[in-house]
């Protein structure tokens, strides 16, 4: 089996915010190879961020960019724990809150564009594009090697130590291995698990799946944030976030503004705070479940009663050129909406609170393996409200630094040809597979099942059905139809991504089935109370002898319980709101 072999000190997998920041840090102490599956720095979710970067109000005030001199790191720390329904890993929240100001300040020093007009208590406003642009410019100074259009498919590991990666350059079809003293995974979320998602097509949970296969621990895989108001139809605009923060009415198929069936407190939370993701997704999903949804699995968004002059002010406030938002032109859609047409929208998988388990140094339980950003779990507990942009920067810097230090402390890298060949074999086994199912069709079916059974509203029966479906997918993985040419073989890439999605599907389903309560973004209609007596703990998954093992782990360092012991799902949210207020 011929393959290219490279050697370096640190491999960083993923070129979004976390990967770029990690590479910058690691490059200060050694050689780095940064690997991007898609277009460099643009293939994941970071490029699509709005974006706000958060830090505590007092530190923001000290930067003369708004903020709040009465605020503190301690107050923000406490808020994040309340938002996460106390399922957060306190150490990760600690380092998040501690390092945020430093990470924001350096971006400003590196020349990042921000919107100086927007003054918030705990956030500066910029865009994903601007963040990545600053990081890229900084990275260029370090001469880091970048591999683009390259999918890392497995970690090279032995006896609990990781010593490199194996992957595929899918343009040429060349298989390669990189021997490295340490690896940083910054691969983002697994949006593509779901039929409706706001992520890039490349976000197939590669890092989480690889880490799992290599024996790493994962945590809270049941926690998925859905974003509401994501366009469902027309297809040309589907998956876009344009209407998320747009003023308008959500209606079911009878024209009812169903959100007003909730009480005032929840309505206010849903309409005026970052809790809107959780609450509107929940409310929307209930409508759809009760057969009051729209033909394309959504509800309706209408601006019929919104005054035209206020609409125009919106454009000015957001500095939009016409109705161009991010890379798309929504003018045609806006015309139809202004004429009174309601557009189909619905919840879409948006962010993943769970992922690879790390400590506050970005270390996993495998030697030589580090992780940062959305692919890690624990920081946001059961519900993310604070900024993921801050997460990627803080954790990227920490993991990169630690990976660099670890690499320097290592004398040599184990040389194991047998392991390398085995993983390369795993990679090539799909090439030319003469099965009957196209990988795209399998992916579509898996995504539909994930959305139905592992979505906003879950229950035991649905989760058990999902698990039996997963066994079917595993079998179909052996019956895929993949052409045999090496170069530009998308079906081969699709198969490799499917391999990861099938693993992640099981991790999410098993975790969601195990957590017998409802907390934050995890809602079980058959277990709709929040149960602090039995479930205020992390759900940690790892692979043992080919089996998925789930364990409850008490959260170390959690102070006095703030939430009552047994609360209904909605009362838990109300209690969180009142804890935040006061």
């Amino acid at each position: 089996m011929l393959s290219t072999k490279l050697e370096t000190d640190v491999v960083v997998v993923g070129s979004g915010g976390a990967g770029l920041r990690a590479a910058i840090e690691a490059a200060k102490s050694g050689d780095v190879i940064l690997i991007s599956k898609g277009p460099f720095a643009r293939g994941g979710a970071s490029i699509m961020a709005g974006a706000d970067i958060m830090l505590d109000g007092k530190s923001l005030h000290a930067l003369n960019l708004g903020g709040d001199s009465e605020d503190s790191k301690e107050a923000w720390y406490r808020d994040i724990l309340v938002e996460g329904f106390e399922l957060n890993d306190p150490q990760l929240v600690q380092s998040y809150v501690e390092s945020a100001p430093e990470r924001v300040k350096e971006l400003l020093d590196w020349g990042m564009n921000i919107d100086p007009e927007s003054q918030y208590q705990r956030a500066i406003i910029t865009t994903g594009f601007d963040i990545l642009h600053s990081l890229r410019k900084k990275l260029e100074a370090f001469g880091v090697d970048v591999l683009e259009n390259t999918m890392v498919t497995d970690l090279l590991s032995q006896d609990g130590t990781v010593f490199g990666v194996v992957g595929l350059d899918y343009l040429s079809g060349e298989v390669f291995s990189i021997h490295a003293k340490s690896v940083v995974l910054a691969t983002g979320g697994w949006h593509e698990l779901y039929a409706y998602n706001t992520g890039s097509d490349a976000l197939t949970g590669d890092g989480v799946a690889m880490a799992y296969r290599a024996g790493a621990s994962l945590t809270n895989m049941e926690m998925t944030t859905f974003c509401p108001n994501i366009i469902r139809f027309p297809l040309a605009y589907s998956g876009t976030i344009f209407l998320y923060n747009f003023p308008g009415q959500l209606l079911n198929n009878r024209g009812d503004a169903f959100i007003y069936w909730f009480d005032n407190e929840l309505i206010k939370l849903a309409q005026t705070t970052e809790w809107n993701k959780l609450l509107l997704s929940y409310g929307t999903a209930l409508e759809i479940q009760n057969k009051r949804g729209s033909p394309h699995d959504g509800v309706y968004f209408s601006i019929k009663h919104f005054p035209i002059n206020l609409l125009e002010q919106l454009q000015t406030r957001y500095q939009w050129k016409g109705w161009r938002f991010q890379g798309m032109d929504f003018s045609a859609l806006m015309e139809r909406m202004k004429e009174g047409e309601a557009i189909e929208v619905g919840p879409a998988a948006h962010y993943f609170e769970g992922g690879i388990r790390i400590n506050r140094h970005g270390e996993t339980n495998l030697k030589g393996l580090f992780a940062a950003g959305e692919c890690t779990g624990g920081l946001f507990g059961a519900n993310r409200v604070s900024a993921a942009t801050t997460e990627m920067l803080v954790q990227g810097a920490i993991a990169g630094k630690r990976a660099g230090l670890y690499a320097n402390s290592l004398q040599h890298v184990p040389e194991t040809m047998a392991i390398q060949q085995r993983y390369e074999g795993e990679l090539t086994r799909w090439l030319g597979q003469k099965g009957t199912t196209s990988p795209r069709l399998l992916r579509r079916d898996l995504q539909r099942d994930a959305y139905q059974y592992l979505g906003v509203l879950r229950d035991r029966r649905g989760l058990e059905t999902a698990l039996s479906q997963q066994i079917r997918y595993l079998n179909v993985l052996n019956d895929l139809k993949v052409p045999s040419h090496r170069s530009l073989n998308k079906a081969w890439l699709d198969a490799l991504e499917l391999r990861n999605l099938v693993d992640i599907f099981k991790l999410v389903a098993r975790s969601a089935l195990a957590r017998e309560e409802s907390r934050g973004v995890h809602f079980r209609s058959d277990r709709s109370m929040m149960d602090n007596e039995n479930w205020l703990c992390h759900l940690v998954a790892h692979r043992c002898d080919d089996q998925l093992v789930l364990e409850k782990e008490t959260i170390s360092g959690v102070q006095a319980l703030r939430f009552s012991n047994h609360l209904s799902y909605e009362n838990a949210i109300r209690e969180a709101a009142s804890l935040l207020r006061g």
């Binding site: 940064l34 994941g44 865009t127 998956g239 939009w320 196209s438």
Partner: protein
């Protein structure tokens, strides 16, 4: 519903001439070029290949040639008659890219259409 006629190239392998295949598809509502390619790849011909990532005109990853012009498939609305080459020649090179050489020809186009939305 509307009828769309597509001539689509499949990737060139080992120096062969590009082969174009014809498809007729029925699509519902406003669809992008990428939506049409996905539909063909999913239901009609698994060899039709188009890489895609952000699906909203930000990353430049879905650059195709449409009726002779280079466009981003995800944000370009489909025409009733289209000749598409989904794999522009630039992508058919394999190289180790140093981060100093950010030489993406689509970058200008993508940058030029950046609007700072929140």
């Amino acid at each position: 519903m509307r009828i769309i006629h597509v001539r689509c190239a499949i990737p060139t392998h080992s120096g062969r001439e590009k082969e174009f295949r014809k498809f007729t598809v029925e699509m519902d509502g406003d669809v992008s070029v990428l939506d049409v390619l996905d539909h063909i790849a999913l239901y009609l011909d698994t060899e039709i290949t188009c890489y895609s990532f952000c699906r909203q005109g930000l990353c430049g990853g879905c650059l195709v040639t449409l009726n002779g012009k280079r466009v981003l498939a995800c944000k370009t609305l489909a025409l009733d008659e289209m000749t598409i080459d989904p794999i522009p020649t630039r992508l058919e090179e394999n190289r180790l890219v140093s981060s100093r050489q950010t030489d993406d020809p689509s970058e200008e186009k993508v940058n030029g259409q950046q609007t700072n939305g929140h």
